[in-house]
Point group: C2
Chain length 351, copies 2
DNA sequence: ATGAAAGCGCTAACAC
DNA sequence: GTGTTAGCGCTTTCAT
């Protein structure tokens, strides 16, 4: 099917070594020989096999990338960042998705080891106690986590806890006191848990008692009763909702409007992730924005360093924690009703 | 670095052939030998190299995937579809992005040829006259296009022209006559052009003169003058806008609201793509929805067939054209003002 | 400046 | 049931 270096050698009447040199060190060849070989390469549509090369060589110039899903724009964005950076270093990506499933994580990593990737970038369900990663450490296959927020391994992310705290503080600064946190499935993400910690930090810091998180597993058209119960009494309902991600925030906003509540008139909404679309909504979504593309790019930079690739050392060491920002759009309003300031859904903290 | 089949053979005191059999045909081995070999495999963290295998074998079980960008959820979705389907057939993905740039398309395809992918799935800027694809045809490397809408090559997509026509017809049926089409960059997408043709079809079919498309290259916060000019006079402004994709539609809706126009009160908006987020907007976006994930899946099915993989033949031949649907959300309202029916931005077609 | 030959990790005849 | 060996496509000494 494919022509090989042998075919080219035969076609141009030289040895395979000469063809190899035409490919890798053309300056060593006689100009005429080179021309002849190149003609044959053209004529035969020859394209050297990375397989043959890699078998011989030390590196495959392949990076494995493991992400939960591409349906989440957060991962699509960081993948984009990895792709751009890795391509610039002449590396190629092998992509595997896991749907947050640890069996699939295991298969993904096995596959990538078989493919002899030089290293890998992964977003895993559990970054801390993870035997798969321990094994990578043991066998010495370099990897860098992206989005996972842990101090125990090389991991590029924002500081989710502080980011969430800062987001909630922005609400507090605008006078909100009755702030609820909504989350997708906690089970599936260590990040959601850290964000809840951040919410707690902010609330406690303001002398307020954090409310337990409300978990929403959302596929319905309307808000679940667990949330509606909190919204019924205007005097006691929360004045702001902090959602653990933007998709959730958008869905919730819709539900609120269906329930006859205006955003931000009746209730403010803050998301997390900073997906691009949020900014374009007619009521621009407020969000704790994370630099997803940069997370991908920095993950690659760290991996590149571990691979001993010539790095851009001009800017000093590459950070693991990237700065977040609180993007206050139109979905947050300052609280003006003084009554709301004193009424309390969450009881005041005596401390 | 990695241990090889030789290491395992030495460690367990058998020949490399036996190790190979332990991997590929364990039933041929004596139970004790097998156990011994497996122990060594464990002990040495041995993982067979796909490189060695592929060099010998006919197939690499690798598919190349070439998409313009992952920032567009349309491609992220179809990639997801490819991934799911290909993984199910025990194939792995090599991903390359091109940013609609033909030089990058060329490099992507070269890279994938070097990697000896068994076939590839691509979304290219120009599907019809494309030397790269012609070359693939010549050398016999199987490929299937996704999203590209052409009859000249194997390509899985919706019928963009008919889909656009159907979308515009939905507007016409609701009494709209002054309908404008907005598009991103036409240069970059054959699909946008086909969608404009569909708009023309619908307008002409209703005895109306289509208006030239308004091209928006959007990064600004407000609507460009080219569009605002059309909106100034309430008596003559369009009653509906057909946008060539959903991102554009969302941005335009925001601009309209900034300009003091309500959607759909003053003006209806129809998008194209059916991105999931659109449905979750508080005013759910109307859109000509395309089955992106299915496009990916079917592209794989076609490729699998060309690769001679055992296909799911139960459901008959796999189609190339997938059904679109017009999702009418809240951004379209029927036209009630009879005055608007007769006034005309676009002149009535005498035919 | 070019060729001959070994070897990368593995599979598959073929032998025993 | 297991071992020996050739060879997949390429790079890389080592000769010439």
């Amino acid at each position: 099917m494919h022509s090989t270096i042998k075919d080219v050698a035969a076609h141009s009447g030289v040895s395979i070594a000469t063809v190899s040199r035409a490919l890798n060190a053309p300056q060593l060849l006689n100009a005429e020989t080179l021309a002849k070989v190149r003609e044959s390469i053209e004529a035969l549509d020859f394209m050297p096999s990375a397989r043959g090369r890699q078998l011989r060589g030390v590196r495959t110039r392949l990076v494995g990338v493991v992400v939960p899903t591409l349906a989440n724009p957060v991962f699509a964005e960081s993948l984009q960042g990895i792709d751009e950076a890795a391509c610039a270093s002449d590396y190629r990506l092998m992509l595997m998705t896991t749907a947050y499933d640890s069996a699939r994580e295991r298969r993904a990593i096995e596959t990538l080891r078989e493919q002899r990737v030089d290293g890998l970038i992964a977003t895993v369900a559990d970054a801390e106690s993870n035997p798969l990663l321990d094994e990578l450490d043991r066998i010495g296959l370099p990897y860098v986590l992206a989005h996972n927020d842990t101090a125990y391994r090389a991991a590029v992310s924002v500081d989710n806890r502080r980011a969430a705290r800062d987001g909630v503080c922005a609400l507090l600064q605008r006078g909100h006191r009755r702030i609820l946190m909504l989350a997708g499935s906690f089970a599936e993400s260590d990040r959601a848990r850290l964000r809840y910690r951040g919410y707690e930090d902010a609330m406690l810091g303001a002398g307020l008692t954090p409310h337990p998180p409300i978990e929403l597993d959302f596929n319905a058209d309307d808000l679940p009763p667990s949330l509606l119960a909190h919204l019924s009494d205007p005097a006691r309902r929360p004045t702001a909702l902090f959602c653990s991600n933007d998709r959730l925030a958008i869905i919730v906003m819709r539900g609120l409007r269906h329930a006859g509540l205006s955003v931000p008139g009746d209730i403010s909404v803050l998301g997390f992730d900073g997906i691009p679309l949020g900014e374009w909504l007619s009521t621009a979504l407020s969000s704790v924005a994370t630099p997803n593309r940069e997370i991908g790019r920095y993950a690659w930079l760290h991996l590149a360093a571990r691979l001993g690739l010539p790095g851009d050392t001009a800017n000093g060491p590459v950070p693991f924690k990237l700065p977040h920002s609180v993007r206050t759009g139109a979905t947050i309003a300052p609280l003006i009703d003084p009554a709301a300031r004193t009424a309390s859904l969450v009881s005041e903290n005596p401390a």
